[in-house]
């Protein structure tokens, strides 16, 4: 399975501890990322014994694209992710077992076929997708890999990644750098590694100045060479978040917002949306222009628990999920899907979202929203996704086949809407 070029391996080895890939031997091991495909009838169930390989009846043959001898030399494609919704979502799943999150792998879901394809097996988590959609960043514990979109040709980037169920690695929006959080939870540091025109691991990493903030989660910034992270501390499997910091790629501070969380930066307008903590109920969304001298704008939304939000590709609309929950009984009612449109932030209500860990994501063509959540039947938890046509306010729902978890809660981790696949 290993397709690591020997010459490249030697170079990686020489790059040694000072490079992005301090342990080149691991790169060889990494090339065994499991690859398989399945349909709804050949999928693992809750009773399946956990295996380091994805449980599937399909023979784990290399996918057609993985037979190429081409190394994943990354060259950024100018511009944002190519437009055109594809009906395919890339996501990772995690199962909550004994109060910890077990990574169940990274999958590609084709909505039209109702099929799930394994990109990487148990233990892997989706961190980010390159701006042109061709490459992935996947984590396996403290190891970070760069792979092609189908999971092939994995290359170890670092083995010091923050090993928590969080987004600890991103591509910068200009596609020229990888950034990730190194550490074990309490003494983390943020580093970046130029990637343009070369393999990661060939360049030296640079530590990004984070001041007195300990980064715990990174957030991608579309189109910009900007870093956004939440700071706090990670301990006993849980990261607490105490604020948001925005900085240039060299660490130059742009803004620091103590107490805030859930940052999302718009693709073109350089607007930062976030939730200010310590305010009850948590239904106030703040939008701040990152241009100098701007003041924050706060929008109070119906509902009392802001769950997730996503900027449209043109940066002019913000889709927000806001849960209506009874403070008295704890009962969950609707998860409202609200569309806010700049510049006046007029509000439009769409079909409600659903489930635990509800997520929303704009399609690359700006026409649809991908909604995902974990719903509970009488016997099990399962992940459901819906593609919501924003204009018509109609949704097609899809139960992700075969990824049910029995009594254990299964959740989506990373979630991305892919550009056309296979890409070429």
């Amino acid at each position: 399975m290993s397709r690591l070029n020997p010459v490249l391996a030697a170079v990686l080895f020489l790059a040694g501890a000072s490079g992005c890939s301090p342990m080149p031997v691991q790169a060889t091991t990494a090339a065994t990322l499991p690859l398989s495909t399945w349909t709804a009838t050949a999928v693992p169930t809750a009773s399946a014994t956990p295996s380091p390989q994805p449980t599937s009846t399909a023979t784990p043959e290399p996918s057609p694209t993985s037979t190429s001898t081409e190394e994943p030399v990354y060259t950024p494609t100018p511009g944002p992710t190519p437009l055109g919704g594809t009906g395919k979502a890339l996501f990772s799943l995690e199962r909550r077992v004994d109060e910890a999150y077990q990574q169940m792998g990274v999958y590609l879901f084709d909505f039209s076929l109702g099929q799930v394809e394994t990109i990487a097996g148990e233990g892997y988590r989706l961190q980010d997708v390159s701006p042109d959609g061709r490459y992935l960043l996947l984590s396996l514990g403290s190891e970070l890999y760069l792979t092609r979109q189908d999971g092939s040709n994995p290359r170890l980037v670092t083995d010091r990644l923050l090993p928590y169920p969080t987004t600890a690695a991103v591509w910068t929006g200009d596609g020229k750098n990888l950034a990730w959080i190194e550490g074990t939870g309490l003494e983390n540091r943020l580093v970046r590694c130029p990637i343009e025109g070369s393999l990661p691991g060939m360049e030296r990493t640079t530590e990004v100045e984070t001041g007195d903030s300990i980064p715990v989660t990174l957030h991608p910034v579309p189109g910009e060479a900007t870093l956004v992270w939440e700071y706090g501390a990670c301990q006993s499997g849980v990261c607490t978040r105490n604020g948001i910091r925005v900085a240039g790629i060299d660490g130059t501070l742009i803004t620091d917002i103590p107490g805030a969380h859930h940052p999302a930066v718009s693709p073109s307008l350089f607007l930062l949306a976030y939730i200010q903590g310590g305010v009850e109920p948590q239904n106030q969304l703040t939008i701040l222009s990152l241009e100098e001298g701007s003041s924050a704008y706060t929008i109070t939304l119906p509902g009392n628990h802001l769950l997730d939000f996503s900027w449209s590709p043109d940066g002019k609309s913000l889709a927000v999920l806001n849960l209506e929950r009874s403070d008295y009984s704890g009962r969950w009612f609707d998860i409202r899907t609200i569309l806010l449109q700049a510049p006046s932030w007029t509000r439009k209500e769409l079909m409600p979202a659903f489930g635990l860990n509800a997520r929303v994501l704009w399609s690359p063509d700006g026409k649809n929203l991908l909604l995902s959540g974990t719903i509970q039947s009488d016997t099990e938890y399962l992940v459901e996704m819906a593609v919501l046509d924003v204009l018509r306010n109609k949704a097609a729902t899809h139960q992700v086949p075969g990824l049910m978890s029995g009594e254990e809660v299964v959740l989506t981790g990373g979630l991305k809407w892919l550009s056309p696949y296979p890409f070429e």
Binding site: A40, R96, E99, Y101, F111, S112, G114, V238, Q282, H305, L307, L323, E324, R325, S326, D327, Y328, S329, G330, R331, W332, F333, D334, I335, M351, P352, F354, G355, L356, N357, T374, I375, Q376, S377, D378, A386, K394, A395, A396, T397, H398, Q399, P401, V409, L411
Partner: protein
Amino acid sequence: MTRVVTRKRMIGLPLMLMAIFLVGCTGSAAGSAGASVLATQVNPPTPETGSPYPAADPAEATPSSMPGMVVQLSPEPEIVHGTATIEPAPTKSSEPTASPTPDTRLKPEEWQSWPIIPEATNRAREIYQAGLALGNDPHHFSKVGDCQSIQEAFMGFYDIPTRYTLDADRQHLKATIDQFTGSFLRDGMAVHGGFTAASPLSPMLANPDTCQPGETPLECEFRVHKPVIVFIRMEVWWEGRSAETYERYMRRIIDYAIEKGAVPILATKADNVEGDHEINLTTARLAYEYDLPLWNFWLAAQELPNRGLRDTFHISYEGWNVLSYTGLEALDSVWHGVQQTQ
């Protein structure tokens, strides 16, 4: 596999959890505005602007109001000590039935004669020590319960020094109040109106602002508060609920609390909605089997008008005082007891 949906969807919930809300703690439909309705119904205008509690005048309480805050001005100590003559005999083993010492404890079937205020058992001491070793906060206790455990109804005023007084012979309780300051006026993540024994175990009822994805209210409460003692009082009843179901979920809650090193204090309830006191009997059986403290509030309520109830389920205004006071005494007794060497 794929279906087009054009109508508003509902969040999927199991039948079990749907049943939770058929009869809520309020006895009426519990809506999303429940909390604010509660506040306006219970708290009439008070002379103390900004205070979360009404004045301590029972006349201000309306019969239809939800359990409101009653200021503990002068507890009735004679109620507290009950009529029991035999104290549960602590055993040296975590398995009570395996103790070589004759088990002189009252049997679960005699639960109505169990003392109101429990003492710490040897099992409780073991759990407490394990909890300290796990890093639990010796200044924290938690509540797991329904509307009869919310801060306005249960002990919340002990975190507001101007809202209660202790009689001269009850001053020893001040040390317990001081020890657990901050835990009284707090619902935590595992107390909500309408909660049944199944509710704290459902991630679908957790607060998403505080709790991790997929985390249950019970797990969330223990993670954020790290209690050394936990009151477990699940009293809501609906038609068709069985004691077996109650017991099954209670075991999971108790097991979890023990695993996390928090001493469970179980409690009997004042009502008998089920008709045969089966829930209280089950609770006593669990306390007996696990060798845990049982706070016999049912017994304390018997001397109150209408046995401490204002309807068939809700504790009366007078009952709240006794509930909070005996709860404090139970906490005091168990907390002091678990610190003693075996």
